[in-house]
């Protein structure tokens, strides 16, 4: 399974980031277009096109911008131009269903695919329904499930597992967007997932992460231990996640 590390342009100081990428480069990186073209370009150059996922970042973009379709379409034009300019291989659709509805998302998907000449990775959300999942699996080789961090409840995990199994049995790759639960990840036949929890934990939760040989362990730091916070802690967590990345990369499903 491919673990894409997200948020690699944040958390660490630029000096530490360079050191980490030099000494223990990650295998796979996801960057969001919302972070800017420069950040995306750096990320793709570090790991190569085959090992890079581009997220549209459309949802984040809507925060702060006046939420209109016209503004989002301009953003889509820039997204398309970037994909074309750098021949990005794997990129997600602009899954803003909850704001503008699925019809508008489908229109943007069509434009994205027509103007890039490539299939995007469509992103399923609960609101799309199971029939839509079947449609995605029938028409795409690589699909994603979104909302795994906040919107999928514990009792829904068995349903997600069935959906992933269904796609797997049909030879379709599934990406779990923002899947951070490393202890249960083994139970899902995801082809890939991404996580920024290494940097979120360092920045907000002040947690230190360790790879224990199978999953990531999180330990809270003592309050007031500010020396450990920030860039150094992010760099530490990042390196632990790279170990986890390598471990999971060798995993194959039955």
């Amino acid at each position: 399974m491919r673990i894409f590390l997200a948020g690699t342009q944040t958390g660490m100081s630029s000096k530490e980031r360079e050191e980490v990428f030099e000494n223990s480069p990650p295998l796979y990186v996801l960057e969001t277009f919302f972070s800017g073209e420069s950040a995306c370009l750096k990320a793709v150059n570090r790991v190569g096109n085959e090992n890079f996922l581009l997220d549209s970042g459309a949802f984040s973009y809507m925060n702060g911008a006046k939420c209109t379709k016209e503004i989002l379409l301009e953003y889509l034009d820039r997204y398309i131009a970037f994909i074309n300019k750098y021949d990005i291989k794997y990129f997600f659709e602009l899954d803003v269903d909850t704001i503008f509805g699925i019809e508008f998302v489908e229109m943007m998907r069509k434009k994205l695919e027509t103007e890039t000449g490539k299939k995007c990775i469509p992103v399923w959300h609960k609101g799309r329904g199971i029939e839509y999942w079947k449609y995605m699996v029938a028409n795409y080789k690589y699909v994603a499930i979104g909302g795994l961090v906040f919107h999928v409840k514990k009792e829904e995990w068995p349903l997600i597992k069935k959906m992933v199994d269904y796609a797997y049995a049909k030879g379709v790759k599934v990406h779990g967007l923002g899947f951070t639960k490393t202890k249960i990840l083994d139970n899902f036949k995801f082809y890939s997932v991404d996580s920024a929890s290494w940097v979120r934990a360092a920045g907000m939760g002040q947690q230190i992460h360790f790879f224990d040989g199978k999953s990531i362990l999180a330990r809270p730091l003592q309050k007031g231990n500010k020396k450990a916070y920030g860039s150094k802690l992010s760099a530490h967590n990042f390196k632990e996640w790279i170990k986890y990345q390598k471990y999971m990369n060798a995993k194959k499903w039955k």
């Binding site: 984040s60 909850t98 959300h125 609960k126 906040f150 069935k162 923002g178 194959k252 039955k254």
Partner: protein
């Protein structure tokens, strides 16, 4: 290329074999039972396995006394190390054409689940009502419309 039969106890698994293969042993054992031992184990001149650790484990499980082997005595130590990795790596690059696979499987009366093939006609017996549906748009304390990003959890005023 000469195929020689070796006593199973003469073979030695490579101690640094970087592949997890335990989950595949049952299927390989089934394959040997059904079709016979058709792919020899590749060993070096000392009997250390170069390619075929899963076949070796399956042979132990089946209680075989002897297994067909190819001795790669024409390779240097470095080449053996490289081949051991390359032999495993190249299979990762191949992919199934699932439509053709489905056609091929449908022609067979042999139960292919014995060899790890899952049912491609798998049904997805889930109903939308089983999911807890989220409120798409809510109002915040200032009575403004708000939505939560399903990926990052960020609250966005709209």
């Amino acid at each position: 290329m000469e195929i020689v039969y070796k006593k199973i106890e003469e073979l030695k698994p490579y101690e640094n074999n970087p592949r997890f293969n335990d989950d595949a042993v049952e299927y390989v054992a089934n394959s040997i039972k059904e079709f016979g031992f058709k792919v020899p184990i590749v060993i070096d001149k000392n009997g250390v396995i170069v390619a075929g650790h899963t076949r070796y484990k399956a042979s132990l499980e089946l209680g075989l006394d002897e297994v067909p082997c190819i001795v790669a005595d024409d390779l240097t130590e470095e080449q053996i190390k490289a081949f051991r990795l390359a032999d495993n790596k190249v299979s990762e690059k191949a992919e199934w054409d699932f439509e053709l696979l489905e056609e091929e499987l449908s022609d067979l009366d042999i139960d292919m689940s014995d060899f790890g093939f899952e049912d491609l006609d798998i049904n997805l017996d889930i109903d939308d009502s089983e999911f807890v549906q989220d409120t798409e748009i809510t109002k915040n304390k200032d009575d403004k419309k708000e939505i939560i990003c399903p990926n990052c959890g960020e609250k966005i005023e709209i």
